[in-house]
Amino acid sequence: MSTFVELVVNGVSMGSVYALIALGFVIIFKATEVVNFAHASLLLAGGYVTAVLHDDLGFLLALGAGIAAAAGAGALVEVLVLRRARVENHAVLAIVTIGVDIVLTTELTRRIGTEVLSLGDPWRDRIVTVAGVSVAETRIAALVTATVLITAFLLAFRHTSWGVAMRAAAEDGETAALMGVRLTRVSLGAWALAGALAAVAALFLTVFPTPGLDRGTSFAAMKAFPAAILGGSTPPPARSPAA
Amino acid sequence: MNGANSVDGANGLTVTGLTVRFAGLTALDGVSFTVAPGTVHALIGPNGAGKSTCFNVLSGVYRAAAGSVRFGGGELTGLAPHRIAALGVARTFQNIALSGRQTVEDNLMLGRHRLTRAGFASAGLRLPRARREDARHRARVREIARFVGVDEHLGAPAGTLPYGAQKRVELARALAMEPSLLLLDEPVAGMDGGERRRMAEVVLAARADLDMTVLLVEHDMGMVMRLADRVTVLDFGRRIADGPPGEVQRDPAVVRAYLGGAAARGTAESDAHDAHDAHDSAEGGKGGEPG
């Protein structure tokens, strides 16, 4: 029985991390109709920055820097590339993000090389045992963080003006623009948010029991794509991609 | 409308109790009308009356929640768009739907799709059959282009043409299907007086030469009065009038629908404008335009 509970907790925890990745992916898709194949490289960027800085800055500051870096990278991609690509065909925009992904991933995996980097998280490999059920602290942290973030997003999506603007853009961009929604701002926000979520996901993809951040991490991130497919065909509130 | 029997079997169209709903909104509510073979029938009404929805059901783009559409003795309701096309139903789009990067000639050749057979293998291997077919249909497409007056643009990518020419290419593409029922969705929207007149002539000539039935959605009342043999008026998804153009124009329900909406001023203006237009075309029509 306890083994079963452990499996469930670990599975749900892992699923919630993938949900963070998928959520970012879906946010971009809903706001701009662009399939962001560079998502895995944003994740890798966030994780890499955290891993490099945690010795000097401490874990939390480094994580903040990683999140900021990934969000910034996402925003940069939006401003420098997608906003300028005047193509109607969304398949072509998806291929552009592939170009971005190739550049970023190649450079990052080159820097990482054959090393396995730790992100300096405070939980290490500690394990909590409650009523005979043993679960790694990292798994609990992942579950709690992901739940908080996803809930916060859904609330913001429903109740803030940014959320309303994004829903309007997802429904019908042209009409939304006529109603005064600034599509560029929605799209920029979506890319930055997706990058930030990816950086958080990078942390929990690489903590215990995973040895750390290595060149295969971006491939692991790609596994979240099927989750995004299942959740991505409807707007986030209707069906959470965590499913 | 119960005229089904009288038009079945020929190129007549019978719409019975057509209802379309989108997420709780009823776009069409039990609409019925009959289009006699070989006539030009106009579907009019204020913006949002359900005209384009009706077209989208007729061409298979939308599914109806209830009701039936019969054409030439067959049921169209529930058929996929390409099957409806195969029965000889062609349409144009209010917002031009040409393939902008392909040449005008290729856009028109797409109209021949239902009349041609070449598949991946025979086109890829350029079998004699495919080449003969291509040459034969290209000749016909050029004829149609001349007829509609777009032959000078045949080699240009459709997206690079001026608006009026693209509207004409839309019509030419529909004619290239050799349809027995032609659905025209606001064929002269955004055109100037001369272009409108010319479009009206082309439609009338095509109907006469090609033995088609025409269903027309149009805001320009002058155009409707000039072309249509019969008019059906929709408002908020319901049929509010049906009859010959002169009668319908005087119908109190119609006047109310138009005056009640924002379209009121536009209608009055276009009427004045079209009276003038009609006069022009009476003179110009006989002179014959090029093409």
Binding site: R86, V92, I95, R110 | P157, G159
Partner: protein
């Protein structure tokens, strides 16, 4: 763009352009194509094509193994990229699964051609038959996926086809008796009656001994030329018009009588068969199939090729394939002389990495600054180099978003 000229009637003022001498030097571009008779238009293109083909035929007599291998990679990639361009460029259907079908072609050939052994299964078919079988297998695999490919539009198909990569990698690594697992399998050389595509001695032409690479070079040409020719026929014929319209105006295509789902499924199968042929040729060149080669990156490479070369045409696919396959080889070969590029393992940017970064950036740059890709650039250069002498006609202004399709 070689649409035949319109009929002569009603076209006054175009007569001067039909003067035979001028027609030959005329731009085979869009405007000129209209007013010039077919023969006059096609002749220079045909001559240039024939000359280019002769050069390609002569190359194995002069090039070393390194360049022959690079050329063979490029030819294989070109065949695969033509297939992907039919699907993604001409129809607007994004596919991430192209590598999967390359794998089916490569492993399909190996399985069909190899004899069954103690650890590895095989059918031991005559190798030419195995080669054809590999293409058919890839087409059949595409057919299995085609109900999905027919229903999903554009980028949605791109996401769904990612599943093929994951499935493919799983099978390649785990179905040991079929695929050889992690270590892959040896590829039996192709043997036509009287000619084996291996290093067997005895084949000497013009005093040059022809080894496996030289022989495969001719095989590659014999596959690439008909592949490109067929794709061009498809694209310029009835199916191509239907596919392009599905890409540009899906609803209009359906209303004009095009069964959209059937065409999407059909072009998916066709593109799988091109991938299968490319994979089988690649296997013959590699002489060994390895599973990790057929991963996601390969699919990305192919998408990069068609964007860089030019979407929607066979020539664009070939141009992009040559660019993407030759770039790493060029950097490997001449990397020592280039700044920033270091030897592999020395900590700097290795040639392989440099080439990936370069062509990733090239994808972005092409979409931003060079709509139409290398092919579009080429036709623009040619148009600029030829003095304007187009027929006087109301040629409309050029649309900014226009991309040669």
């Amino acid at each position: 763009m070689s649409d035949p000229s319109p009929p002569p009637d009603g076209a006054p003022g175009r007569a001067p352009d039909r003067a035979p001498g001028r027609a030959r030097t005329g731009t085979p571009g869009r405007a000129a194509a209209l007013a010039q008779p077919l023969a006059g238009l096609r002749r220079p293109a045909v001559l240039a094509g024939a000359a280019g083909f002769l050069v390609l035929l002569a190359l194995p007599f002069y090039l070393g193994a390194f360049w022959l291998q690079t050329g063979l990679f490029a030819m294989s990639a070109a065949i695969g990229a033509i297939g992907l361009n039919l699907l993604t460029g001409a129809t607007g259907q994004l596919s991430m699964g192209h590598a999967f079908f390359l794998a089916v072609g490569a492993y399909g050939y190996v399985y069909l051609a190899s004899d069954s052994g103690p650890h590895l299964a095989g059918l031991g078919l005559p190798t030419p038959l195995a080669f054809l079988g590999a293409i058919v297998l890839a087409g059949a695999a595409g057919g299995l996926f085609s109900p999905i490919a027919g229903r999903l539009r554009g980028t949605y198909l791109g996401i769904a086809s990612l599943a093929l990569i994951f499935i493919g990698q799983h099978v390649l690594f785990n179905a040991g008796s079929l695929t050889g697992g992690f270590n892959g399998r040896d590829v039996p050389p192709l043997r036509l009656p009287g000619l084996a595509f291996d290093d067997s001695p005895g084949l000497v032409l013009f005093d040059v001994p022809l080894g496996a690479l030289e022989r495969l070079w001719f095989l590659g040409l014999a596959l690439l030329v008909p592949a490109a020719w067929t794709a061009r026929g498809v694209l310029r014929g009835r199916p191509g018009r239907a596919l392009n319209t599905i890409r540009d105006r899906e609803v209009a295509a359906a209303v004009m009588g095009v069964p959209v789902a059937r065409y999407r499924a059909g072009v998916f199968v066709l593109s799988s068969m091109y991938a299968g042929a490319a994979g089988a040729l690649l296997a013959l060149v590699f002489r060994r199939t390895v599973p990790e080669y057929f991963g996601m990156f390969l699919s990305l490479d192919y998408l990069a090729m068609i964007v860089i070369g030019g979407l929607g045409t066979a020539a664009g696919a070939v141009a992009g394939a040559v660019f993407v396959s030759a770039l790493p080889q060029l950097l490997t070969r001449y990397g020592d002389d280039l700044p920033l590029v270091a030897a592999p393992g020395s900590g700097g940017v290795s040639p392989a990495e440099a080439s990936r970064i370069l062509y990733g950036a090239a994808v972005v740059a092409v979409v931003l600054f060079l709509p139409g890709g290398l092919l579009g650039l080429w036709s623009r250069l040619r148009a600029a180099a030829t003095p304007r002498r187009g027929p006087r006609r109301p040629v409309p202004r050029l649309d900014e978003e226009e991309q040669p399709a």
